[in-house]
């Protein structure tokens, strides 16, 4: 029963993932006085690209062609480790967050290799930036997880420590049990969402200027179905990080209510990303590590607070 429920929630997530990017774009359009492209544009784009042929550079190898599929698959598999709509993942096990983090890392690695495989100086620059920011974001994520785990241990949570316990109504419970410092993790996860998904203020997904891009420049050479995989993979990744964020906020409740709340949470998260992208400019590239560092300091601060009491 639980397995079927989870599969239904999982399918819902896979279907709705591209919609969240549509909401982001619509919010941005409204802010600048435009009507904006259709909410479902990404679905149309993916459907169109899947039917198209592919142009592959002569200098590239299978590494280039395999990159998008690996990146997309790893994002989908990572998503399957998350509790969705209040239903714990059937694949959950003690310490699965490490697998989840490194599945995303593997996706990034495949994308970077594919970018380097083209031999283009632009893509090389993008790959180096992605590697740097990825390496900076990783310890922040683990600091945040560590804070959650220490809290769970000190509160005497009996269950195994997995994403499905830590991000499934655990955090609001902890706030009420005298651990309000975990609220600060919302900020940490928010920054991680922006960094990992290459949104403003870290990267500008709308720019056409190769020299300033991070993620977009790495996928410039992809076309056809592989570009569809890239687009869908990034939509799933955004959904994954937004799920982590909502998982920190929504308390324990019946499954139908939890599903509704998490959908609402996803909608609000997409709106928030759209608002942030509308009201602020990008940071200069060399200031981005300071932003990630800030999130890291907050996470470390939370960790210290959970340890010292």
């Amino acid at each position: 029963m639980n397995l079927w429920r989870y599969l239904a929630e999982f399918a819902l997530a896979l279907v709705l993932a591209p919609l969240s990017l549509g909401i982001v774009n619509r919010v941005k359009a409204k802010f600048s006085g435009r009507h904006g492209k259709p909410l479902l544009q990404l679905y149309y784009d993916i459907a169109k690209l899947l039917r198209k042929g592919e142009v592959v550079g002569k200098g590239t190898t299978w590494v280039f062609s395999a990159g998008p599929a690996i990146a997309m698959t790893s994002a989908v598999v990572a998503l399957s480790l998350l509790p969705l709509g209040g239903v714990a993942s059937p694949f959950a096990f003690q310490g699965d967050f490490i697998l989840c983090a490194y599945l995303l890392g593997m996706g990034r690695f495949a994308t970077i290799l594919a970018a380097l495989d083209t031999g283009s100086p632009f893509e090389g620059m993008g790959a180096s930036r992605e590697a740097l920011f990825g390496a900076l974001a990783e310890p922040v994520l683990f600091l945040a997880l560590l804070a959650l785990i220490t809290t769970a241990e000190s509160l005497g949570v009996e269950k195994e420590l997995s994403l499905s316990t830590l991000f499934n109504g655990f955090s609001p419970q902890a706030w009420l049990s005298g651990r309000p410092e975990l609220i600060m993790l919302i900020f940490v996860m928010g920054v991680l969402l922006l960094v990992e998904n290459c949104r403003i203020p870290v990267d500008d997904p709308n720019t056409h200027l190769e020299l300033t891009m991070i993620h977009e420049v790495m996928v410039l050479d992809h076309s056809g179905p592989n570009l569809a995989f890239v687009l869908y993979g990034s939509a799933v990744k955004l959904w994954l990080f937004a799920s982590l964020l909502t998982g920190l906020v929504i308390p324990v409740m019946p499954v139908w209510a939890h599903t509704l709340c998490s959908l609402l949470g996803m909608f609000l998260a997409a709106c928030a990303v759209g608002v942030i992208e509308s009201v602020m400019a990008r940071l200069r590239m060399h200031v981005v590590p300071a932003l990630v560092g800030l999130a890291g300091s907050v996470a470390a601060f939370v960790l210290i607070l959970t340890l010292v009491r």
Binding site: K28, F31, S32, G33, R34, P121, F122, G124, M125, S128, R129, I200, P201, D204, N206, T207, H208, L209, E210, L211, T212, E277, S278, V279, M280, A281, R282, L283, R284, M285, H286, V287
Partner: protein
């Protein structure tokens, strides 16, 4: 030396030896004179070089000429602002400036005879190169990701840092100067208006001024007011667009989207004047073709006020956003000394603290400049160039409004056009300096003994200012290049001619 509003007889331009010309130019530049143009003129036995210098403090021009022979000692080491002029001379006339630090063609003109492929294209040339295992080279263009003109940029990078940027243009070369020489009088103005499509009014004003100064006629005040109005409308439209584009490059979308619309509002005002959004066919030698009556003036003032209110609001939203200011501050700095020695002009120079604005330094008429002021900034970064545009937006809107009102009140009192003589006087030289929205546009016209052109030289502000962009990128992040580029927003075809 001569008054900038008058022409000078070609015979009175002193012919000296190249060494004397060289020491005279170096001496003058040391005293604060600026090189307006340095170019070759066909002579009976080969080529003569003409150098036009300007002293803004005394409002004096000076011209001198010399026979360079096959080669001569380069001016550039002592007078860096000559560097592109000398490369141009080398390319067009085969005269070699010895000791020029970076002698290569400017525009890679295809040969006059023979197949075009017999000469390398601009991107196939030699480039300055930094060696080292950790140094990498990034080549951008000539085909760009946006719909813009072609240009080739070579970055020598150490990680994200740019050690050197070399800009190679020439892809847009149409040989406009030669086309102007050969064109019948009625075709010349459309050519001039297309030297740089976004500065049609600026170049047309310069061309008409050269003709009027050669002929020695004075146009009416009404024509001057109409020309000033058109120039300021052009400035408003382009500054609005640039401010929006700077917003777009920082990722600040609202101003980017709004300014795109408001730019159109300003362009449409120009369209009401003459039927062309870019002000084509508005000017003519002797004045202006289209007058403004009281009714049109009223309608335009109303629309101008509305468009300016929108532009001001949109730009203020951007300039009050701290993340935008943080992005702009300190990015792409050009030092005052570099701006002076490279001879930068216009906004790019004023944002580095160089005091120059042709509207005040070389006024075209005796009318009061009214609400136009010489706006300056001292930091030389992208923020300075942004704020300078924002300040000039206010001045230009106020000036355009006053001019429109005045044209409405005095409608019908004075013609806006006077007759030009049928032919130009022979053997004279005249210079025009007009502050286009980018900066000072300089045209030099020399007539031959039959009253036809002997030479016509066009110096667009972009010709000087591309070097400024290269300097702005030194030791900057390569990811800041698009933003720096937008803050200069130079013309490719204005440079390539």
């Amino acid at each position: 030396m001569f008054n900038y509003r008058e022409s000078v007889a070609w015979a009175d331009v002193p012919l000296m030896s190249m060494n004397d010309l060289r020491s005279a130019v170096v001496e003058r530049c040391r005293k604060g004179w600026r090189m307006l143009a340095f170019f070759g003129v066909p002579a009976s036995d080969g080529v003569e070089t003409v150098c036009v210098l300007a002293d803004a403090s005394a409002r004096l021009l000076d011209a001198m000429r010399a026979k360079p022979g096959r080669e001569y000692p380069s001016l550039t080491p002592q007078c860096p602002q000559a560097h592109l002029f000398e490369r141009e001379l080398f390319e067009l006339w085969g005269v070699k400036p010895q000791g020029h630090p970076w002698l290569k063609p400017v525009r890679f003109r295809p040969p006059a005879q023979g197949p075009r492929s017999s000469r390398p294209g601009p991107a196939q040339a030699d480039y300055y190169r930094v060696d080292g295992a950790e140094v990498h080279e990034v080549a951008v263009g000539p085909v760009h990701a946006g719909v813009i003109e072609p240009g080739h940029f070579r970055f020598q990078c150490y990680g994200e840092n740019v050690m050197h940027l070399e800009i190679q243009l020439g892809f847009q070369h149409r040989d406009v100067e030669r086309l102007i020489l050969d064109a019948p009088a009625t075709r010349a103005l459309p050519l001039v208006e297309n030297i740089a499509g976004d500065t049609a009014i600026g170049h047309a004003t310069a061309y008409c001024t050269v003709l009027e100064r050669l002929a020695g006629i004075r146009i009416t005040d009404r024509a001057h007011i109409l020309r000033r109005l058109a120039l300021e409308l052009e400035r408003l439209a382009n500054h609005t667009r640039d401010l929006g584009a700077i917003g777009g490059d920082t990722g600040f979308l609202p101003t980017s989207a709004w300014n795109g619309r408001i730019t159109g509002d300003f362009l449409n005002l120009t369209a009401e004047l003459c039927g062309s959004r870019f002000g084509r066919n508005l000017l003519c030698p002797g004045g202006v073709k289209w007058d403004v009556d009281a009714a049109l003036s009223q309608a335009l003032v109303k629309r101008l006020r509305a468009a300016f209110r929108d532009a001001r609001g949109s730009v203020d939203v951007m300039l009050e956003t701290s993340s935008v200011l943080a992005r702009l501050t300190g990015t792409g700095k050009v030092a005052f000394e570099d701006a002076r020695s490279l001879g930068l002009v216009g906004m790019a120079a004023r944002s580095c603290g160089v005091s120059m604005d042709a509207r005040m330094d070389w006024p075209l008429c005796d009318l009061d400049n009214g609400s136009l002021h010489k706006r300056m900034r001292t930091t030389g970064d992208v923020l300075a160039r942004t704020l300078l545009r924002s300040d000039e937006l206010n001045d230009s809107a106020a000036s355009a409004e006053n001019d429109l009102l005045q044209l409405g009140f005095s409608s019908g009192e004075e013609p806006c056009r006077v007759a030009m003589p049928a032919s130009m006087p022979p053997d004279r030289l005249a210079v025009a300096q007009v502050e286009g929205w980018r900066g000072e546009i300089c045209h030099v016209g020399i007539t031959g003994n039959n009253g036809q052109w002997l030479a016509y030289k066009v110096v667009d502000p972009s010709f000087h200012n591309w070097s400024g962009l290269a300097m702005a990128l030194r030791n900057e992040q390569i990811s800041d290049f698009p933003l720096c580029n937008k803050s200069f927003n130079l013309s490719y075809c204005g440079h390539d001619l």
